[in-house]
Symmetry: C2
Subunit: 138 residues, 2 copies
Amino acid sequence: MGKTKESFVNMAVDKYLSLLRPYADVEIVTVKEEVVKNKNAALSKEASRILTKARHFVLLSERGRLMDSEEFAGFIDKRRDVTFVIGGPYGVAESVYEQAETVLSLSPMTFTHEMSRIILLEQLYRAITIIKGTRYHH
Amino acid sequence: MGKTKESFVNMAVDKYLSLLRPYADVEIVTVKEEVVKNKNAALSKEASRILTKARHFVLLSERGRLMDSEEFAGFIDKRRDVTFVIGGPYGVAESVYEQAETVLSLSPMTFTHEMSRIILLEQLYRAITIIKGTRYHH
């Protein structure tokens, strides 16, 4: 949800994308963020934008299921195809939770949605190194 | 443990340091990383470097206690002074675990020690906004 102007985020995203690309087809789809005047109205508009782009997806939310990196690698390994949805600064509407195949939490701590992008990509790369048994994961 | 050459990490660290500095005295102490030939020997040398710099500290480790951002804010709020230790890519020796006042986990997932630096600083800033009741934390 939303483009980022934060340059460290864009640099980190580019770094992990280039690490991932030899192993996986990764595409980032940015959905237009709504200007928040009324939070619920904005989330509901964002929800319909998300739900037209993604039908089967894993939603990232601190309310979701915690996994360690090995479990996450197993979770990825079982799938040919997976879409992750990361909400905006105010999260996502309940309708997005209802539609999600799995709700995954990166941590019980609240992270910014921008940090979540970096962490998700880093965990995807880590998952691949765990699956392939290469040396990155300590 | 160790300087980072990763520019996105340095940019993110600088960003959160400048957000934190109006509210807190924050100092980052970098401890020299050991070249790893024998892992245990390297961790043990690093451990003595850490333990000469820090006596009372919170160790960050995925083996530690999980907290949500509100609990972490409460944890910070009770202390006048707090030192966090983040190990190197291979973690830290058991002697550092034994000396730690608290072992704190940012997530059950394994993060790089560089990502942990960014996440810790972001959580410290978030903790301050929670304590002060300002608008950053959603």
